[in-house]
């Protein structure tokens, strides 16, 4: 029996259980008497323990076992939930996560904290020392060689059948463990017919049984009777005591053998898995069904084709097209998971951070059902965590300051996720003191980011905090002073194809808004033609396209070109020069310029022509070829040709670097032929 899927399933399930555990624990802090919450916590630990033990994860099982004992005491009110106990429980959660992670990779590491936590548990619960052996499965002891003659008297309780038990099954079990020499029924319990109840068992038996098994093993046959008085087993031969001791001696040996084979079993489960709601899968299956139907229609029409069937064919193809598109969209949703999986980490984070800086912070979470690409969820965790850290450390004021300002003592951080158009927005807002404009400007001047006499709009000031090497914290605090700045947050968000904006009002609070694409795998693009080549520009980056008028293009003394559009000078980038292709015309008035925007900075791209808008599937260039500035990836067009997808932030950056003279080599000698080859490989 291959257990790998079960183990993978368990790891997923345990992850959910731990989140629930954590959430319940935090709830409990606010409402210590809630017995339903206590039960929930207990059940989580209980399930993890049972399953991990069955799957041979001894480290996890042993740990949870002790934890469960403690929780049981809590549940039975033998123990009160004190703050130190709360902390220990929370720490044990972290420990469990780590243990599960280890177990996933098939190892068991004896972490130092492990012992320490177990000691804590015991001191809280004063519970007994639990040895690993406690959770070992009871393996049946091997039969011993010598036959023993037993006399067994079995009188099942009258109600035995009402528990779904058949008395004969016990005799059968016994028969499997040796040989019946004689069976004598005992009819003495049978009452007069008038008093007899059909559902009662009145029979009993005396059995002479010859067996190689020990008395204890034979008693095991009657285990489910659950009443020792119903069965007596007596050894008639004299070597009973000896066989007992032999059984005992051989048992540990098998146990050890077993432990070893169990430990070597779990394999590394890399690659990760994703859980998909059944209705999503059903819809996919439906669509595939539709596709198969249209495909067979087409096959049929084509097999006996005649001109008058053209219409049917065209209709079927159109239908198939629709289904294929639908299917494409739906398949992409398979990768989408609720952001809850990420948000559920935050209550704990906020609690711990607030306690560390001695502030009161409440957390509001909204829209946790919002779905996002799994990869995005995995990668957005760190930036969000950083923003929350910042909000608690810099945003929310200490209690005295808040009260002095007439605000409630407890600050609030509100995290909200929602979908808007083709984007997911995540807002992180606090009701703290807001950004301190003067402090930011002073710091920026000190760090040489801006000059003292430069007039700055609010937006520009707020943008400063995203600049590398910027930190206003007067002192490096325990929370934020980790050398990671907002610039890293910003970069991480942008790597995901998203953007981050900030809105802050003094004394009212700060709100960060992260805008993320729904998925990383597909985007709306605008096809552009330059010479023989086609490029794709992300539609979201385009503000407008215009035909330049004569005289609107100017060359600066530096060699750079700018184009005047409505009295604004925008850097002009000739795509043909960047990519080294021969354009239809070198004259901007003979082509088009596409204005792209990135972070409020605009640039004009000179192209030959605009083609259709289309959805494109992004293929990474880096995995097949190499990273090229100004190129985000590639895609395959409907006719099988490869088109490069332009990277707008990269292009805007290019526009800022010193330009080359016109006679210079193209920036990239890379021809599309080369990348074509690379993609084919």
């Amino acid at each position: 029996m291959n257990l790998d899927p079960v183990i993978q399933g368990f790891i997923d399930e345990a992850g959910d259980l731990l989140s629930d555990f954590e959430a319940a624990l935090l709830e409990l802090e606010g409402d210590p008497g809630n017995s339903e919450t206590l039960n929930r916590i207990f059940r989580c630990a209980h399930t993890i323990k049972g399953n991990s033990a069955m799957l041979g994860m001894d480290g996890v099982a042993g740990f949870t076992h002790v934890l469960e004992d403690l929780l049981d005491k809590l549940r039975k009110r033998e123990l009160g939930l004190t703050p130190p106990l709360m902390n220990t429980l929370l720490r044990s959660l972290d420990a469990l996560k780590e243990l599960l992670n280890d177990a996933k990779q098939g190892k068991f590491i004896d972490h130092a904290w492990h012992e320490e936590l177990l000691r804590d548990f015991r001191s809280f619960a004063a519970c007994d020392d639990v040895t690993r052996a406690d959770i070992e499965p009871q393996s049946p002891a091997p039969p011993i060689a010598a036959e023993t003659l037993y006399e067994i008297y079995f009188s099942p309780p009258a109600e035995v059948m009402r528990r779904g038990l058949d008395p004969l099954q016990f005799l059968q079990a016994l028969a499997d463990k040796g040989e019946f020499l004689q069976v004598t029924p005992d009819l003495s319990r049978i009452p007069p017919l008038a008093e007899m109840k059909v559902e009662n068992c009145y029979l009993a038996w005396t059995i002479w049984h010859s067996s190689k098994h020990s008395k204890r093993e034979l008693e095991g046959c009657f285990e489910f009777i659950g009443d020792p008085a119903s069965v007596t087993i007596e050894a008639l031969s004299f070597d009973d005591g000896q066989s007992e001791s032999r059984t005992q001696a051989s048992a540990p040996a098998t146990n050890n053998g077993k432990v070893e084979s169990r430990n070597s079993k779990p394999e590394v489960l890399e690659g990760g898995s994703i859980r998909v709601a059944i209705d999503k899968v059903d819809k996919l299956i439906n669509l595939v069904g539709e596709l198969v139907i249209t495909q067979s229609i087409i096959a049929q029409v084509v097999a006996n084709y005649s001109a008058e069937k053209h219409e049917i064919l065209a209709e079927a193809v159109a239908q198939m097209d629709r289904h294929a598109r639908d299917l494409h969209e739906r398949v992409l949703t398979v990768r989408m998971i609720p952001i809850k999986t990420l948000f559920s980490r935050f209550p704990r984070l906020v609690r711990d951070l607030a306690a560390a800086v001695d502030k009161q912070v409440a957390l509001d979470i909204l829209g946790e059902e919002t779905e996002l690409d799994k990869t995005v969820i995995e990668k957005i965790g760190d930036p969000l965590t950083h923003l929350i850290r910042n909000a608690i450390d810099h945003g929310i004021e200490p209690v005295e300051d808040r009260e002095a300002a007439g605000k409630p003592a407890s600050g609030t951080i509100r995290i909200e996720a929602y979908q808007q158009g083709g984007n997911i927005h995540i807002d992180i807002a606090d009701d703290g003191k807001g950004l301190d404009r003067d402090k930011i400007v002073a710091k920026a001047i000190q760090n040489g980011l801006v000059s003292a006499d430069q007039p700055l709009t609010d937006e520009e000031v707020q943008g400063l905090i995203f600049r590398p090497g910027f930190s206003t914290a007067a002192k490096v605090t325990e929370l934020s002073g980790r050398g990671v700045g907002m610039d890293v947050v910003k970069r991480n968000v942008e790597t995901l194809g998203g953007s981050i904006t900030i809105q802050s009002e003094p004394r009212k609070g700060t709100r960060f808004r992260i805008k993320l694409p729904l998925t990383l795998a597909i985007m709306d693009g605008q096809a552009l033609q330059v010479g023989e080549q086609i490029y794709i520009l992300p539609l979201v980056a385009i503000t407008e396209s215009i035909c330049p008028t004569r005289g609107s293009v100017h060359r600066l003394t530096s060699g750079a070109e700018v184009i005047m559009i409505r009295d604004k000078a925008l850097p002009l980038l000739r795509l043909h020069r960047i990519f080294g292709v021969r354009p239809k015309s070198e004259d901007p008035t003979q082509g088009l310029v596409v204005i792209v925007e990135y972070e409020g900075r605009q640039a004009a791209l000179f192209v030959d022509e605009l083609l259709a808008q289309q959805q494109v599937v992004i293929k990474s260039l880096e995995s097949n070829f190499s990273k090229v500035d100004g190129v985000a990836g590639a895609t395959i067009l409907g006719d099988g040709r490869v088109a490069l997808i332009l990277d707008v932030p990269g292009l805007v950056l290019l526009s800022k670097t010193p330009p080359r003279s016109e006679t210079a080599e193209p920036r990239y000698k890379t021809t599309l032929e080369e990348s074509n080859n690379a993609m084919v490989q």
Binding site: R43, T47, M54, L165, E223, K265
Partner: protein
């Protein structure tokens, strides 16, 4: 004839594991994630044996066992409870509720298979290699 087993456990892993074991032994398997769902499944098909966990949300295993025994059609259906408590206490409580027997977690699939066969008085497939866990 194919026998049907009802597995009631709030843990997917456990249901999967038991399901896998019993399906391999030729059973049809129904599942429920708690006592309520378990009871609901009884109406779905004739059930020959029930394997249930004790600690579950909404309705625990013992309450479910009691409710099952109230039904005319399941007064004599074998019911196995899964328990991690090794103490006699839980076994006695299970017995009082009307459970036929119990299996202490962690168990090995072979053990479960044997116990189920025994309760149903079916021949247990010849003991092949014991799956390692």
């Amino acid at each position: 004839m194919t026998k049907t087993a009802l597995i009631v456990d709030d843990s997917t892993t456990m249901r999967r594991m038991i399901g896998l074991t019993l399906r391999e032994a030729g059973f049809a398997v129904l599942e429920g994630a708690n006592g309520k769902e378990g009871l609901g499944q009884l109406d779905a098909a004739p059930v020959d044996i029930i394997v249930t966990d004790v600690h579950m949300p909404l309705m625990d295993g013992l309450s479910m066992v009691q409710a099952v025994r109230q039904r005319q059609d399941h007064r004599f259906t074998p019911i196995l409870i899964l328990t991690t408590e090794k103490s006699d206490d839980m076994k006695q409580r299970g017995k009082q509720a009307g459970a036929s027997g119990w299996i202490v977690k962690p168990f090995n699939p072979r053990q479960l298979h044997e116990v189920v066969c025994r309760l149903l008085r079916m021949p247990c497939a010849p003991s092949g290699e014991t799956p390692t866990l």
